[in-house]
């Protein structure tokens, strides 16, 4: 029982982080039909930025995180403008471009930051006794709270505000939205930037728990893809449910099956989902 609770707690924590990363990928896929292979690399960049600003420039954790997220947002806009825009409508072309971009960024980080892991100082230290049964790191709890907060804000913006309605209208019917006077090009750029912001948020929130290295990005992208397909392409709710599900399955798998195959569980789920329900849990449309 105690074991199960620990696995579930840890699963929910990991799941929330997966959901956060996957939301960014889903946003970009939903609006633009572009699978951003370099998503994890933006996460890594934000992680490195937040660590560097906190250490080298002595900024407090919150402002270093904000600066990191803003910088990655602008970096995302530059990528969209120079590399992604010419590929609209050709999803294979954009996939090739972002795949190459992922290799470039990963190797560039290796040259710039070295192979060493880096992390900003923890926001809080120590561990808390949960349910009177086991200890759980305080930084993990804080990161979980932050991830949940960002996800909530994102969902509110998407469903309750004017901006969210515009973005979703483009996702649903680009031509109609354009006829109704929405500047779809600008919406594209903004969505890509927002997707990058989500990656960056995940990066700055998780780096204190899992230090970044130049090569962790690809694992993060892959997990995000799995969660996205599991939840259904383009569905935000699907992302959240899919993320939590994956986190829990992975932890139960490690706990009760085999710890060596942790990362295979997700890919097996993915293939099963595609076989039995290709639209995922919450998806309506296929892209």
């Amino acid at each position: 029982m105690e074991d199960l609770l620990l696995y579930l707690t840890n699963g929910v924590f990991m799941g929330a982080t997966y959901a956060l990363v996957a939301l960014g990928v889903t946003l970009i896929v939903g609006i633009m039909g572009v699978v951003n292979f370099a998503h994890g690399e933006l996460y890594v960049l934000a992680g490195y930025f937040s660590a560097l600003f906190a250490q080298a420039m002595g900024l407090d954790p919150l402002s270093s995180m904000l600066v990191a997220v803003v910088l990655v947002f602008f970096f995302g806009l530059v990528i969209e403008r120079t590399l992604i825009r010419p590929t609209y409508g050709e999803e294979m072309y954009s996939l090739i471009i972002t795949f190459i971009l992922y290799i470039i960024l990963q190797n560039a980080y290796l040259v710039i930051f070295g192979p060493y892991p880096n992390k900003p100082p923890n926001w809080v230290s120590g561990a808390s006794n949960l349910f009177g049964l086991f200890y759980y790191g305080n930084q993990r709890l804080a990161s979980f709270a932050a991830a949940a907060a960002v996800i909530t804000v994102f969902m509110v913006v998407m469903h309750k505000t004017w901006l969210g309605r515009v973005i979703r209208s483009v996702a649903m019917d680009r031509e109609m939205a354009s006829i109704l006077g929405v500047n779809t090009e600008r919406v594209n750029m903004l969505s890509f930037g927002l997707g990058c912001v989500l990656a960056a948020c995940a990066g700055v929130i998780l780096t204190p728990v899992f230090p970044v290295t130049p090569t962790v990005g690809v694992g993060i992208s892959l997990t995000a893809f799995v969660v996205m397909i599991l939840g259904g392409l383009g569905s935000f709710t699907g992302c959240i449910v899919g993320g939590l599900l994956l986190g829990i399955v992975e932890n139960l798998g490690v706990g009760y099956v085999s710890s060596g195959y942790k990362h295979v569980f997700g890919f097996v789920i993915l293939i099963l989902v595609l076989f039995f329900r290709p639209t995922g849990l919450f998806g309506q449309k296929q892209l």
């Binding site: 294979m92 470039i104 595609l274």
Partner: protein, 324 residues
Amino acid sequence: MQAAGTAKDMKKLLGGESTPWLIVLAGFSFLPLVLGPYWLNSAILGLFYVMMASSWNLLAGFTGQVSFAHAAFAGIGCYTSGILSAKLGLHPLLGLPLGVALAALLSLCLGALCIKMGGIYLSLTTLAFSEIVHIVIQNEYQITRGTMGLKVPFIVGPYSKVTAFYIMLVAAAGIVWLVRWIINADMGLRFRAVLNDETAAQSLGVPVMRVRLTAFVISGAMAGLAGSLYGHYLTLITPHIPSLDMMFHVLAMAVIGGLGTLAGPIVGAFLLEVLSEFVRQFSDKYHVLVFACVALVFARFAPQGLVGLAVDWWKKAMSGGRSA
């Protein structure tokens, strides 16, 4: 009708168009006389990449399906034939066809699963498949020796780079020839029809799914062959063969050389092989980075690749000459 088609194909195959290819092939077959062991090694690696990039191009360039499982199929080929020969003592030449067969079988299964959905789904599913293969090979160290790599016997006879070179040359020429035959034959027309306009192709009676699946399986089997030969040349196979890194190299070569052209992947493979030796002289750290930057510049500004550029330029020069 059928006979006429075949005769035409034969003519295409042996006619004037083939001459430059035969000259290149003849040129290559003299390389071992000129190159020392070091550069011969590079040439063999180049031939391996020619096989990989050409067969991936059949899929991505001619039918528009970006598969990320190509390196995984090479891995399946080399580990199948490698394990059979290293553990059960099967001769590599017998293990080789089994490796190819398993790669073909798995690509049939994978293709059946995701071809229908196509597009992004295909790319992401093949990506997941490729990661599974990579992780399983890495984890099942009792069978595969994991990251330490599995020692496998040399292809045939005592270790010799010259032997390996000629075997790889024959295999590479075979694969290029097969790709060429496919795209020139009826099937190639269908491929292009599928690439250009799926719905139109369907309405004209082209069985789109079957055509795609055929391409997927042929390409997977070719990767299996390339992988097995490569493994038996290296005599050491590691999870690096079925990895995204390898996948990137293959993709970059096809893109730089020119997707959807026959010569593109060949040019790309050898160019990058030479470029990598060149960059290596300065620092190993930068060689993938340089590759990737070159690939990005091509993908973004010249998606037709080197061969496409050359063709465009040639056409322009010809027409320019006429008008002047």
